[in-house]
Symmetry: D2
Subunit: 375 residues, 4 copies
């Protein structure tokens, strides 16, 4: 018998234990009560990650009231949660984080065989003139999906189209896929034009690239805070000048020298830990690694500190967020919707970024990892 012929988690696991002569006692069926409710095939149990909490962190709401959030983070990198926590403290004692959010929309970017320039440009024009029907074809696939717009590019034989969708509280990649499939059927029926591939990498899904950096994807988020001089000294054990120096040399010039698309110190760390905790697609960590930290020394030795993340792909429902353990982590944040969840991640990224730059400025990074990372 083969692994793929078993229908039950337990049988598969036992088969592997027997075949490979190993014990899989940790990978046991714990939370997975009903295999059919879980996305994922050939399951043999589950894996785990330590879950910690940073914060609370103070955030300014729309009407400039201040709200506090706890931040769930799953990681095995020692010092990371402690570092975000320290950043939260520095924020809280200085004020609160301010946000701007733009929902760019989830994108799917199919490629069509248009075979020459005339047909390609004709097709783009046809898309414009039939956008109402395209919208209808997309939106009939889900009551939660909203068609936003498209961008298109002809290259020789091919036309690449990037469709943008709002997907309610879901991250929405699957919804965007089904909507695009429906659009493609409409296109095929009306024009005879064939979709060569439902994703032509013009999405640009789970790959690092400039299109997502420049145009955004999912949610674009900006956050800022002014850290007070005395807070920098007392909590971060350094000065605004030193943090600024490290930021300039590392995030700006060092990133330039590395051909980087991340002009930041470690956005990825916090995005990955938050995604793991709250049930996001871990492959979207790639989009979350893009972005820029920008700082400025203000008069009086205070530090203006801001971050920009152009492409956060996350959701409150669907995918991994359906797991009970992820639901709990989301409930722990108190977020009511996707936008609020993005903000909490944003506050965490800002806190973590500030704390690491301060730690580098102080020269304590190796020390912290020595203490917290080496068990």
């Amino acid at each position: 018998m083969k692994l793929s012929q078993f229908n039950l988690i337990e049988k598969r696991r036992e088969f592997l234990e027997k075949t490979l002569k190993i014990k899989l006692s940790q990978i046991k069926k714990a939370h997975i009560e009903d295999e059919k409710n879980i996305c994922g095939e050939n399951l043999i149990g589950e894996t785990t990650l330590p879950l910690g909490v940073a914060g609370p962190v103070k955030v300014k709401t729309f009407k400039s009231k201040i709200k506090k959030y706890y931040i769930p983070l799953s990681t095995t990198e020692g010092a990371l949660i402690a570092s975000v926590n320290r950043g939260c403290k520095a924020i809280n004692q200085s004020g609160a984080v301010t946000f701007y959010i733009q929902e760019i929309g989830v994108t799917r970017g199919p490629v069509y065989e248009t075979k020459n320039l005339r047909k390609g440009f004709w097709f783009i024009n046809w898309l414009k003139q039939n956008e109402k029907e395209i919208k209808a074809a997309a939106e009939k696939t889900s009551s939660h999906l909203q068609y936003l717009r498209f961008e298109a590019k002809v290259i020789g034989f091919y036309t690449f189209v990037r469709f943008y969708f709002k997907t309610g509280e879901a991250m929405g990649m699957n919804m965007a896929t089904f909507a695009t499939e429906s659009i493609n059927q409409f296109i095929k029926q009306k024009t005879g034009i064939n979709c060569l591939a439902l994703s032509g990498n013009f999405c640009l899904d789970k790959k690092p690239g400039w299109l997502n950096f420049l145009s955004g994807r999912g949610i674009s988020l900006w956050a800022e805070v002014v850290i007070k001089k005395e807070v920098i000294e007392e909590i971060l054990k350094t000065t605004a000048e030193k943090i600024y120096e490290v930021w300039l040399a590392k995030n700006m010039i060092g990133s330039t020298l590395s051909g980087s698309l991340g002009f930041n110190a470690h956005f990825t760390n916090i995005v990955a830990a938050f995604f793991a905790a709250t049930g996001q697609d871990l492959a979207h960590v790639v989009e979350g690694s893009l972005g820029v930290t920008a700082t400025k020394i203000l008069t009086g030795g205070n530090l203006y500190f801001s971050i920009y993340l152009p492409a956060l792909m996350l959701g409150m429902v669907g995918g991994g967020t359906k797991l009970a353990v992820k639901k709990e982590a989301i409930s722990l944040t108190g977020a009511k919707n996707k936008e609020e969840l993005a903000k909490i991640l944003g506050a965490a990224v800002l806190a973590g970024e500030l704390s690491l730059l301060a730690s580098l400025a102080q020269g304590s990074l190796a020390n912290a990892h020595q203490k917290l990372g080496r068990k």
Copy 2:
């Protein structure tokens, strides 16, 4: 009392449940017997992810013998494990995967204040002339660490140096950090030159960038297989020509149009699922998203299929691999060392890449996600 004042996982969790009026019954202290053994601070329990298995997949060993491996994958994306599994089947019925591996080494890229060009170039020259002592300073920090070489770049006021280390069976980022800290002390003592930041983003750690694409980081891996015509038809339900067409339009031209550093269909998906299963640092998914798939139609309708991943950051020991549940997943692969583990991941990436391109070629992607992703 504040969250950070609790010393025990249980107390913290109870504090949050009380404060936030929520239940955290899933995030319970299950496998975390002893907090001190886990990297991660402010722990309140653990989170979980479904764990499945793909394969076995056939791999050619050094002496062209064939070995079979199971592939543990943790994901909540429906269809992903099934897709890798289908790819494995296509590989197995066609032959086996061939590999080439280069251990580039883990990098740490500090930035030094050299203040002018003369000092900067003098410093690089000094590094060359004192490389034996630098090696010694690095290697005294760990018996598992081996200093390899450095690259350096002067930019105005600063000198950026990229140190390369072999780190035994560990992924080794922390080891590289401690080694670099020791090098810096030696440098400071001998030259008076100050390290402005232990990481100057010349590493380039957890950020997408061309330096890692062009120079590699951690392990660079190549894999290839020839898929037989009849296997493409029977298992992948398409033809070599169609897979090739989708590859060219999507991975090559579509990636070009998106300013992408990933000239592949979805390396990231498989890297993220394998990293989650085997206890790797999830933020290193970014480096794992880099790379190129290259195919060619051979005479007789067979398909040459190859992948290149320049920067895999993984390990067998240390970090998340210390968790018992991750150890089990690694034992399930049967890998004896880091290189073998990388190969198994490589085989999974190749299988998943082949299967997705075939699915796009066949036009069944949306269908598969409809069936497997929507529960």
Copy 3:
């Protein structure tokens, strides 16, 4: 006396001849009758470049009639003009070049000190609501300038805005600068917001970058042709298959491996030679180096061949085109306007690209340079 104190070309030249004890007989005042009519300061004469002609090349006009154009090219690279000429022959015997053109507009991208996110996003909103007045402020600076639109991006302390303008028959960079200066005065007066730099590199003028590749700049141009099998054999001395193979390996995979923004064989060569001949700004060769060549083997052994140049910056009037010698070169093309001039350049690029790929496929490149380049 110093060089800068002389008011006449001749005196300056004589001063240098005397001071440096050299002869500048070639750099004599030939076409420069009146210094005041020439842009450029501290003139001592003129320099020259050999001027050749390729073509004529057949081009399809709007109503699918065919028109023929000669192509003036100034270069000192042996074999280049001959190569473009050979490409023209192959085109002419196969059919004619088809074009698509989009006037993206000239861009100027100032950076404003908005000091925090709220002000930055307020500013962008203000720009939207006052776009009519901004348009008026821009357009009052020249009757030939048309304000098109703007894009904006907030990063921490700064707001970057990219203004797009149509500039009639001029390349228009200066016109765009004056228009932006006028917009800035309007902004300052109405909002008090200070423009930190009239160009904040968000233009992105004369630098290679993804923003121009993805969004275009100046004129975006597509061109295509189907080259017949027998023409490939007789004129290009190779086959469609071999050209395709070289294109795939070099333009696609080789460019990928080099982190290139030019997925082409040598667009730059032809752009530079045409710009030198027709009086364009030679620094805009950078934008002209961007772009993609895409080919496909058609049934019957014919070759589909297409190019895409996203960012051509050229003009019919103003700047270097005012020189009589450049006017003659433009008259030689027969172009009546900027768009037609761009098409002729496009035909030349296509011809040159085809010929070089064919030459590489045939293995005759070194030979051709040996014969034509080594005098």
Copy 4:
């Protein structure tokens, strides 16, 4: 009769005048005495560009002596020469430019059909073991050429190799091509491996790309100067703080937002003007657009100002430098060799960069172009 059938410049020109009913009196055969001595085919005469001079600029030589150089610049952009000249003044009154130069070598990057990984890696190993013979094969093509080293990358079916050569006082692209052709014959003869294309874009010749940015090409050049506070005020009419602010916002953050490979204000302008004046290949302006400007405010209000140009492709002999008019421009610089010529260009770039950033800081850019650019 057709254009290509004429053997003489005059006849061709007359043919075009008659055919197109135009006058080509400016494009007359002036300096072109003997067509056979000029690279370039189908010549009909010559084109011209105004030639001006900036400087002299003070430069520190090896033994810290100071030397003065005049800088020939050919451009039709008003204000450019004046701007470089102003920068020279600011340099001269502050001190002198210091340089570092690395001759990286000219590269040619062919692609070979190795057909699978084993053959590809075998080939790279073979290249290493036969490097002495490869060197000999290259160097027998020219007594001025020196083989330096190679880099190689396998991607699936292909192996890309980047050969580096020193080419004496020539820019050397043709020499590198002939040397590579000779290497290829040796490879073919010894291994049977076929070179698919003599240039596989791994060169990376005349295309913007990260490989040249990170590894350099031709000559890599660094230059720096400290500008005194009073000089900034008197000559540049601004302050160190303001120049720094513009540099940070424009060259660093603005370039980041544009996905730029040029982290500078306008290197390209000066490179293009110097190349046109001294007979360099104008398509190599692309490589010259790469690079970074880095500044720092020093105590006392002085400004540290530095540039880094990773890939200057220029020469003293061969190509366009053979034209008498270019020889004169080179003689005007006083450069004795390629390295010295590169330094003079470097000083010009530094001067032009400083002056433009100062002009932007002062807010006088539009004004200067209004005055000098609008004739």
